[in-house]
Amino acid sequence: MSLTAPYTIEFPFRRTVGPKIGTFLAGLREARLFGVRTARGVLCPPLEFDPVSGAATGDLVELEPIGTVTVWTWVPARPGDPVEHDFAWALIAIDGTVGALFHCVDVGGDKEQMHTGLRVRAKWRPERGGDLRDLWCFEVLP
């Protein structure tokens, strides 16, 4: 019989984020959403490199934090998730951009309220520190 034992690996990483993602995160801290220019249009989030050509992406552009759900999956909430009740992970096409942002959509735990094409807007955390989670989730645009 082999001996077994539990153990834990824990890393307190602090990642350096560079100017482009650093500005995007600083924007989230101010409850502002930024995208980035590419040859095919504006991308949000601001990827550093163009997913088609590989070229460095261009300048940052401020966006209205409103968009449309293009696809979603309903998941049970777990400890540590952004939302405390069941919610959707979704791709959200922010108005004025090509492609979509991956984030969560909170419809109050009622799956029936969730559908493709749903118009949503960003909900910001009251306390923000310059992190992707400053954008708390998206919720239905009234």
């Binding site: 019989m1 001996l3 834990t8 690996i9 602090r14 600083a26 801290r29 992190d131």
Partner: protein, 155 residues
């Protein structure tokens, strides 16, 4: 449009819980330690003696033989003196970390050598294990507190 001043860093904590599976071979050695015994096993192919022993000889790939107890003493094969402080250190530097060849084994075991001034440690120094008390004995190399010189003259 004014851009915000970029943030420099973001927290990225990572935590992962695992199960460590010591394996059949290693477990034999570890269980011996809990009884203050240093168990070795011999490869029937190349006759080399492993302590700790894997389940298979890594030269011959044959299952090694049954465990038997070594006398426990051995000699310093080579060593270094850890001379600087760093976080999480158990002992106050300087202290000696040595590769110890146990008598009767062909492998080397890495452990501390204490009860001797670091400058007196040399290659070939005869050493013996100092075991922890009964309450601390465990299936772990921590059952050996450290090794120390066998002859008082060496101390």
């Amino acid at each position: 449009m004014t851009l915000p001043e970029p943030v420099d860093t973001m927290a990225s904590p990572l935590r992962m819980d695992y199960t460590y599976v010591a394996g059949a071979g290693r477990s034999v050695f570890l269980r011996g330690l809990a009884e203050r015994r240093l168990l070795a096993r011999q490869c029937p192919g190349c006759s080399r003696v492993y302590a700790p022993a894997p389940e298979f000889c890594s030269r011959c790939l044959r299952p090694v033989g049954p465990p038997f107890e070594l006398p426990g003493h051995g000699e310093v094969s080579t060593f270094c003196v850890v001379s600087f402080p760093f976080p999480g250190q158990v002992y106050e530097p300087p202290y000696v970390v040595a590769q110890i060849r146990l008598d009767g084994a062909d492998t080397r075991l890495m452990h501390l050598v204490r009860e001797v001034a670091p400058e007196r440690v040399r290659i070939g120094l005869r050493v013996e294990p100092v075991w922890v008390g009964d309450d601390e004995l465990d299936t772990s190399t921590t059952s050996i507190r450290y090794f120390r010189p066998m002859e008082p003259a060496d101390a």
